[in-house]
Amino acid sequence: MATIPLASAEAGAERARLGMWLFLATEAMFFGPLFFGYVHSRLADSAAFASGSHHMHFWLGTINTAVLLTSSFTMAISVHGKERIRGTLGLTFVLGAAFLLIKGYEYGSEIPEVLAAKGAEQVFYLLYFAMTGLHAIHLLIGLGLVAWLFLSAHGRRAGTPVEIVGLYWHFVDAVWLFLYPMFYLLERYSA
């Protein structure tokens, strides 16, 4: 790094990367306590968590994970593409929006079960809505950023802004990779 002149474009890109990674580190601290709350509550009453998990839509959650992974893939292609990246950026937006629509449908269909939940199962739902909700807000912000790239001149050529938005997008994807088994896959064999 010492060999890169301070004013060069590459030094600017490296500063932007460092800024985004630092921000993502604070984001990990932001999500962290919720993950610890989950571990603590689940160890306190794992049976209630398993029965709460059985109310989740297994297939919708699994499909949604595949959708989000694929959106990260198209985002990675956008970052690597030199020119004409609007197609993959647009696809990333569509996949991200599809994830939120499926999630929204799930939320709607879960309301009766949430209202009927008792005891520690309520804690399961509280964590479920808090964690997936916080994740959904992050994804919504990501959608806004991808839309901005798509509509602005940045969509024409891959550059630092595309790369930085890509880092954020992949982080939000990585958070979901942990949420998926935590809420959808508890004792599926006994469901």
Binding site: R17, L18, W21, P33, H40, A174, L177, L186, S190
Partner: protein, 95 residues
């Protein structure tokens, strides 16, 4: 580009593995397998999609520091909850 396609295929294969494993009763191992697969997927995303493979020492340090601090937070909080009944805080003692 070829690497990205391979990583994507690996991620979907890991997703299929974690989903399928949840239908096999393995007791505590179910959660362990799910956690291990989630970590593997997140690592693939971080190393290839987020370019940690080609990143400089500074970026790698920031990424590892985040995990280290999460580990410290989890460790200290666990120690607190775990030791509460053995060694209660003076102000929570009932006489």
């Amino acid at each position: 580009m070829k690497t990205l396609v391979l990583v994507w295929v690996a991620l979907l294969a890991l997703l299929a593995a974690t989903a399928a494993s949840s239908f096999v009763p393995l007791g505590g191992w179910n959660s362990a397998i799910n956690l291990a697969i989630s970590c593997a997927k997140a690592l693939l995303v971080a190393i290839f999609f987020m370019h940690l493979r080609h990143a400089g020492a500074l970026l790698r340090l920031v990424a590892v520091a985040a995990l280290l601090w999460l580990g410290i937070l989890f460790g200290l909080s666990s120690a607190d909850f775990g030791a509460r009944t053995i060694s209660p805080a003076p102000w929570s003692l009932r006489y």
